[in-house]
Amino acid sequence: MSGGKKPSGEGVNAKKYSRRDFLVTGGTVVAVDALMTNNLAAAAVVPAAAAAPAPTSYPVSKGYLVYDSKKCAGCTTCMLACSLTHHGVESLSLARIQIMQDSFGKFPNDLKVAPCRQCVTPVCVQNCPAGAAFVDAANGNIRRIDSNKCVGCRTCIRMCPQQPHRTVWNKFAKRAQKCDLCIDTPYWNEKGGPGGKQACVETCPMKALRFVSEAPDQKETDGYDVNLRNDNWLNLGLVDDSRIVPPIMAAQAKKKPARRSAR
């Protein structure tokens, strides 16, 4: 097998969280990534929820999306399935998972996959001044945004420590939204959430997305980026290390020269 990490079937200490995720200091929350990049707009210091001190720990989500950024082909079907099932329209900007590509770039840095991490410590929930972002105890503790409560202040967008931010601005509704693991998909006759199906996972033709019930490593910045490739993938001639010889090529090399290619 080529490099990368297998999706963990092991539980992760649910109470752990990373300093990289956020810092809480005297009632204010500052996105560390933003500070590190000197992005003043993103690093704006925002008052935390005024009504009550934000809790510092939350029940962990019972569902997460992990992905293989080296397997993703960038077709954006996942994004379109997301917007279709949630909104009934096709839109990349409304998708709660983002695939970004630089066609001129070098593999593997030519593509980035950015789903919501269902953070063990959800900064969006912690900082929503309207109480719209919440942990949905009735649905596996998924971190969600109640669009009826959202006031469109974009605090959750500014505070999301990920780059790009995983809370998504809906310019039509003037509200923020985020991945709900397909709990609320009015345009799809499938049950979502833990135990259900996710539109992005189901439609990904490369099977580069997977639902897991255990929290990926929160310390690693790429803890959600896992290896979902097997030998059948290698046999497509797709390796992430030049030293790897796909089994089928090794076998063919012993038999005969490769047949000429089609035009």
Binding site: G88, L236, L238, I248
Partner: protein, 683 residues
């Protein structure tokens, strides 16, 4: 707005620098893409025909399909139309298309298409950011290669653009993480080379017809589109269900069927498996790479490499520029990338490079020869040689000025056309484009091109599925099984069991069965391929190794997806009749330009030179088999008789190939009939 459409088509006049819109609804009866483009071309300029491709009256028409911007599998291609300067002997109203994500972004910006007319007095590019459209100066960009152009324009569209972050678009509260989608010409197009292609991304070419040269003639460097909007879907639930249903027709990347048989590189073309489009990373040690799909494509035939060379180039885009035998693949990737950067069409450059070498070896071209040239032939087969050749063509330097006219016109200028084309030395089988698969055997391609305006360039009608399956040496269907499944898929001719007989017997290449096959090819090409943004490597899917019963998605998938997206309730046959209508409209435009049945003939070599053979399904001695047909030539009289029957089948006058009034009026094209009659060319 009706599902699949944004409702408006952008109209840009570069002469007056004015921007207006066309209501899409007026043209929806033609479906999308190609059909709408043909109808717009007819309405705007048909009365003024004939005129030249580089005349400001020529149009660049890009119309997206209702599927663009949706997750319809394999619908990511962008159709470009207009008079094609590459085509010969007349610059026919032609079409070319490229993959990627341009039409998706155009739709998200709120536009179903764009029509460019006129010619700018100074170099410009068109900037589409959602519903904001501006004509921008190309100062500082004009002269750049296609790669630098796209990256510079991306920076100008979104100042401070950071890959991997959200960007706000022009203050409309819309955000995107996507990089602007740019289509542009290169230096070749700027100099009005007839080989000029359009490039999108590093390797996605609209290679045929020479539309890069038309961009250059309009002083148009590029069009950029980026949007944060939506594409409406009539029945989202049905669309989602259709997409999930379609998974059975895809290659299962984790657990492919019959892995011992199919999971080899020899199967890459007919199995629909990922990768396989880039021929330049197949030797050990492999360069680390990802498969890179066009928008919404489950196949993902392209690659992006750790070295970033040959990124997103496929097929001819990775083999047009040829170095000496045994040259390292790395150099071949770089050589083909040079072609992409200059913006030279691969299907034009490929025969040109060969022909130049042929003329040199014959002592016709070179220093002090009949055709004077300072090309460094002593370096032939090296990067330095091909770079010099491409540079001279792109800059119109030396012999490059004549070569930029394309093979046909170049040969004609020096009095070589008749001899070299008829002998097959210069294998321009139809309309100035080189042959592709043996025209004497694989006739759906040959007749499909001859009754069109350029090389058919569609692999899924009978090429990947039949030829490459058989050529693998281990076909997963017998010829009889494959022919049966094929006929069953080709509705409405599914009661004809001989559609796939490529023999030369009574049900073979001259039979009425082939008349129906060619009609099916042209109608599907017009409505689904050109109108649906379909990829010719994906559609139609007549049979497949990916299903247990080997049945493909055609014809059920097309109508199911169409109806879910648009809200129509139409059958596959309904749409094929629209395809017939669009083909007839295209043909009428060609007739206005001078098309006559006497022009629809192959060069002599196809009638006189024996085929080396090309494996296809055939009935031989009464039995289905895969055979090569070695030694076959086409028979002139039989081809002429075939033409007569094809014209009659399509409703055209067999004496001249012109559409008749009865046919046109039946199709609701009375105004077309009136114009043809006015010109004395009604069939």
């Amino acid at each position: 707005m009706k599902g699949g459409y944004t409702g408006k088509i952008l109209r840009v006049n570069l002469t007056s620098k004015s921007i207006s819109r066309i209501e899409t609804e007026k043209y929806m009866e033609f479906g999308g893409g190609h059909g709408i483009g043909s109808a717009i071309f007819f309405d705007l300029v048909a009365e003024q025909l004939p005129f030249d491709a580089f005349d400001p009256r020529n149009l660049i028409i890009i119309v997206a399909s209702p599927f663009a911007g949706t997750m319809m599998p394999g619908s990511g291609r962008c159709e470009v139309q207009g008079l094609g300067p590459m085509l010969y002997p007349i610059e026919w109203f032609g079409h070319s298309n490229f993959g990627g994500r341009f039409t998706a972004q155009l739709k998200f910006a709120g536009w179903d298409g764009i029509v460019v007319e006129g010619s700018s007095s100074d170099p410009v590019w068109i900037n589409i950011i959602d519903d904001k459209v501006t004509i921008e100066s190309a100062r500082g960009i004009w002269g750049m290669d296609t790669w630098d152009t796209q990256q510079e324009i991306s920076r100008r569209v979104i100042p401070g653009l950071k890959y991997g972050e959200w960007s706000e678009l022009a203050g409309d509260d819309g955000f995107t993480t996507q990089i602007p989608a740019v289509v542009c010409c290169g230096p070749a197009g700027e100099k009005k080379s007839r080989l000029g292609a359009l490039l999108h991304g590093p390797g996605s070419q609209a290679a045929l017809c020479g539309f890069g040269g038309v961009f250059g003639s309009k002083n148009l460097k590029a069009i950029s589109a980026i949007g944060s909007g939506t594409v409406p879907i009539a029945d989202p639930k049905a669309f989602m269900e259709a997409r999930l249903w379609y998974r059975q027709f895809q290659w299962d990347v984790d657990n492919p069927r019959e892995v011992e048989r199919f999971n080899t590189r020899a199967w890459s073309h007919n199995s629909g498996r990922p990768s396989g489009g880039n021929t330049l990373n197949g030797q050990l040690p492999l360069v680390p790479a990802r498969v890179a799909a066009c928008a919404s494509c489950p196949r993902a035939c392209r690659l992006r490499l750790a070295t970033a060379d040959s990124n997103e180039s496929v097929c001819a885009g990775t083999m047009a520029v040829r170095l000496e035998r045994g040259a390292p693949l790395k150099l071949s990737r770089q050589a083909n990338d040079l072609m992409q950067k200059y913006g030279l069409g691969h299907w034009q450059f490929m025969p040109l490079q060969v022909y130049v070498q042929n003329l040199y070896k014959r002592g016709i071209l070179g220093k002090g020869k009949k055709i004077e040239s300072n090309l460094p032939f002593e370096l032939m087969g090296t990067i330095a040689y091909v770079d010099t050749l491409m540079k001279q063509i792109s800059n119109r330097e030396g012999v490059g000025n004549d070569l930029a006219e394309g093979c046909a016109r170049f040969a004609e200028k020096y009095g070589l056309y008749e001899e070299d084309v008829n002998s097959g030395v210069l294998n321009l089988a139809y309309w100035g484009t080189r042959d592709h698969y043996d025209p004497r055997i694989q006739v759906e391609w040959a007749f499909g091109s001859l009754f069109g305006e350029r090389d058919l360039m569609l692999h899924s009608f009978a090429n990947h599925n039949f030829h490459w399956m058989a050529n693998s040496g281990d076909p997963y269907l017998t010829a009889e099984e494959a022919a049966r499944l094929y006929s069953e898929a080709l509705v409405p001719y599914n009661d004809d069991p001989y559609l796939a007989d490529f023999g030369d017997g009574p049900t073979g290449i001259y039979s009425d069965s082939k008349v129906k096959l060619i009609a099916w090819v042209k109608h599907y090409e017009k409505f689904w391929i050109g109108g649906g943004g379909f990829c010719g490597w994906r559609w139609p899917q007549t049979f497949t190794n990916n299903t247990a019963d080997r049945r493909g998605a055609t014809p059920h998938a097309e109508q199911r997806f169409w109806n879910a997206v648009t809200g129509d309730n139409r059958t596959f046959v309904d749409h094929m009749s629209v395809g017939h209508r669009i083909y007839t409209l295209d043909r009428s435009i060609w007739v206005l330009q001078g098309r006559h049945r006497d022009m629809e003939v192959f060069p002599d070599y196809i009638y006189d030179r024996k085929s080396p053979g090309h494996i296809m399904p055939m009935i031989v001695d009464g039995k289905w088999t895969y055979a090569r047909g070695e030694g076959r030539t086409l028979d002139r009289a039989k081809v002429e008789d075939f033409k007569t029957r094809f014209y009659k089948f399509e409703g055209y006058n067999p004496d001249n190939g012109y559409p008749t009034r009865a046919t046109l009026e039946k199709m609701g094209l009375k105004k077309v009939a009136d114009l043809l009659q006015k010109r004395g060319r009604l069939g």
